[in-house]
Amino acid sequence: MRVLLRPAQYLALAAYILFLGFPLLWLVSASVKSSGELNSLTVSLLPDQWHWSNYSEALDRQGLIHSAGNSLIVALVSTALVIVIALPASYVLARLRGKVRAAGVGWILTSQVFPVVLVILPLFLILRTIGLSDSLAGLTLVHTTYTLPFALWMLQGYVTAIPVDLEEAGAMDGAGRWTVLRRIVFPLLMPGIVATAMFSFVSSWNEFFFALVLLQSPENYTLPITLNMFIGGEGKVALGPLAAGAVLAAIPSIVFFTLLRRRLTSGLMAGAVKG
């Protein structure tokens, strides 16, 4: 029985990965099919003829690379800002007690209930007043602001999970406040920082509505806005180029995740504290 257990586990894992990966597989397949094949009744994973022109059309037609560059800048900068702000703030939020903390937590939760459509017009006017409307800098600020509350909430959960005993033990050993943070807290918090960074990056990378409304010059368009242009009026969709564009759009996210994956390890604290 035990002999069969390991292969069964691998089989289940493979099935799960296939299940999760199938949409991506289908997307890649659609990106190399001709318009005729995509609009036929025949369903097949592999195309009859490999139609690479979808990629060239996607790249030529809407300035996809330029938009991807804009998205990358906005996503990376807003992620960095979110982490820089959320890291100390979440620590304070997690460790602090009393009314200030309660007010902070209350505000974070309250900020999550405002629908996007309610905040978009004030945001638009504020950005215009400070000269940042229709700019990547303005959009970066908006993404940072919008992602920050959830990132704070997320990260303070990770901080809370680090036993205060560890910090106290460090202090007992003569470490100063900064040393405790740098040598004990930050390493243990790394998976949380990475997870929060991933969340922030993906939120910004995929964000559509703010970019749609705030950006007016085509040279500032981000990737979701550009991809959206493959969907025309009257339900007209350029399926092949859209799929090709979506495949290209997924690559930076995959690269970003791959780079951070190693950092996203759990169990760093295993055995840190004696039960």
Partner: protein
Amino acid sequence: MKSRRVVAAALAAVTSLVLAACSGGSGDDGGPVTLKFQSLSDQPAAIAATNKIVDDWNKAHPDVHVEVVQAGWDGVYDKLITQFNAGSAPDIIHYEAAGVVPFARDGYLADLSPYLTEAKKADIPKGVLDSVTVDGQVIAQPTELQSYVVFANKSLLDKAGVAVPTGDTMTWDQLRDIAKATTRDGAYGLSWGLSSPTASMVALAPAFGGQYFEGTGTDAKISIGQGEMALPQLVDAMAHQDNSILPVTLTQSGSKALAPFYAGQTAMTIQGSFQAANIAKDAPAGFDWVVLPPLAGPAGPAQAANPQTLSVNRDSEHVEQAAQFIDFFTSTENLAALNEADALIPATTSARDALDTKLGAQNGWKEILASGQYLTSAPYLFVDKYAQWKDTVATPAYQKFLAQQIDANGLSKELSDGWDSINR
């Protein structure tokens, strides 16, 4: 559509709180005037045609420079309503009549009547001009139109011994007969993508004398009588008595319903006329297709028009120049070129004739262009809560009716009661 109304309501509320901080748009201090033209052209050829028109204008008018701002159809309502509320909307706006009429009613669009020559007015069919006339003001110039037409697989018609109709129009009864005759050998007579049936029902209702709405704005009243019920009942009869409509297509989009047509599973399909371009591109080699004459009901071949339009932001500092550009854009030559690129029907008679002369011999174009002359004003364009009714009442009710979950009386009641509930 539902989200549109939510967005509109939310933004209107917020506007009252924050708009005081907002002052007028930027102006040009001497030098050439620059106009921002937000274009929604989505096909590569149409984008090229639009850019060519703009380039021609800029060359001929060095003092008025038009700058194209390319945008997408999806989400454009939300974008525009924010821009209008914030006082930063483009000078020239490309959209559809159903989209701009609410903006006009809210006072965001300039009256183009003073800039419309009598010749241009006469060139736009009355029904189409009516679709962009709000409270006596022409708030947009129509540019491109689509109608619903019947595409047929000629080989399957021949095989069933059916002659392709050749008159100026064909009746819905003829369509039903052809569908019955071609439902054989495992194939169905018709595929019709009715996953969002309301648009088709209200657009085609005028042929049966159906108007759906009387009055405008919030005073509009719904009327569901014989004229409004005739088409859904006909579809129901074809689908469930004649069994001549491929059932699965009733729950699919129009584009999806093309696949069985290509595969020879259906002899005909009802589609937006623009699909002619896609059929020419995507149909299998040797696929012999034709467009049948425009459909006519007891009240004639009329269909409700929802044209694409160009309008001018009322807060633009250069309304007159923007209107002059639109007049240039909608010249016979330009509209013909644009509609050829987009595979749509020009909104002016002269451009339609020009396109007929140029392309009439090509497959489908003659019949499609002919259907354009029957496009008429759509009462629903002027009804404030139409979008909400369409999404929350009509579409689910039609879907239930087509799935035989409710009968004709149930459909009529749901359409009427739903409207009364929304428009309370």
